[in-house]
Amino acid sequence: MTTLASHPPSARDEIRAAILDIAPALVAAAPIGLLYGALATTKGLDLLDVALSSGLIFAGGAQLAAIQIWTVPVPIAALLLSTLLINARYVLMSASLAPKVAHLPLLGRILGFHVLADENWAMSERRAGGGRISAPYFFGMGVVFWVNWMAFSVLGALTGPLIGDPTRFGADFAFTAMFIALTAGFARSRLSILVIVASAAAAALAHLTLGPPWHVLAGAITGIAVAALASPGEVPA
């Protein structure tokens, strides 16, 4: 993954690296986008609704959860609470990435953070590796991921009524498998494995007792608390 030291990487190289890094997530997000578009039409959303939601919300987990609880009349309070709980992680994720993109233009950061999803965030964090990340890499990845999600959710809304139940093809599990792969990338120490086990147990328990979307908050807070308590906690001088 290291570049040759003789010359700095060009913008084209950076965009190419971004597309290569995000390619598996693009492929994984495609069936999820199709699934979202197809399921949305079964709840009475039209093509414009699907395009607006995917373009403006741009959060697969929250969008799929919203479709699950979507009824007529529209339960606006429940939809907003579900979205807040599922996407509260973005506060922490964007706070973590912010120092690594602080050198980029403000408007670009605002637009770039609007299209910050789990996958391109995880890749950007890995690319930055505690340091800086280039503008072509960060923005290129965000744009490609946004266009991909838009295209496949609209395609899902168009073709959904024709292909029937997408879960027959295991399309729903692509999302789960992708998250397992992303999580495995962070399982590098005994502490991080402890965090994953604690989060999984708490999320499953919360799902059984409180129901969705509380499992996201319960798992996240439990995992974070375990890390804080189990870490040696020494402060560098």
Binding site: P24, V27, A28, D46, L47, L48, D49, S53, L56, I57, A59, A62, A66, P73, V74, L79, T83, L84, N87, Y90, V91, M93, S94, A95, S96, A98, P99, A102, F113, H114, A122, R168, F169, G170, F173, T176, A177, F179, I180, L182, T183, A184, F186, L191, S192, V195, A198, S199, A203, H207, L208, H215, V216, A220, T222, I224, A225, A228, S231, P236
Partner: protein, 100 residues
């Protein structure tokens, strides 16, 4: 194309909520330099959140999802992401239909 008021309001509300979450970290970020236990907590955010989102699907949905989830975990430590996803999807389809 007949987007009604309540649907549009819900979509815009969800978009605003999500954008607020994403942008608040950007405002908070550069001044926020955690150390010690706080740093450990911060480092735990990605695996804790990613795990929490999918844990119910893997652990409390049904045995095909649980077994396919374990197979996917096994694959995740050996194969690239795309191969891992393929293994997971093939496993869940086989367990749900072929072997169920």
């Amino acid at each position: 194309m007949s987007t009604d008021g309540a649907t549009l309001f819900a979509i815009l509300g969800m978009a605003a909520t999500t954008f607020a979450c994403r942008i608040s970290g950007l405002i908070l970020g550069p001044r926020f330099r955690p150390q010690g236990r706080l740093r450990a907590a911060f480092d735990a955010i990605p695996p804790a959140v990613l795990t929490a989102v999918i844990a119910p699907t893997v652990l409390v949905t049904g045995w095909p999802e649980t077994v396919a989830g374990l197979v996917t975990v096994w694959a995740a430590f050996r194969f690239p992401m795309l191969a891992t996803i393929l293994v997971g999807v093939v496993a869940v389809v086989a367990l749900r239909h072929g072997l169920g």
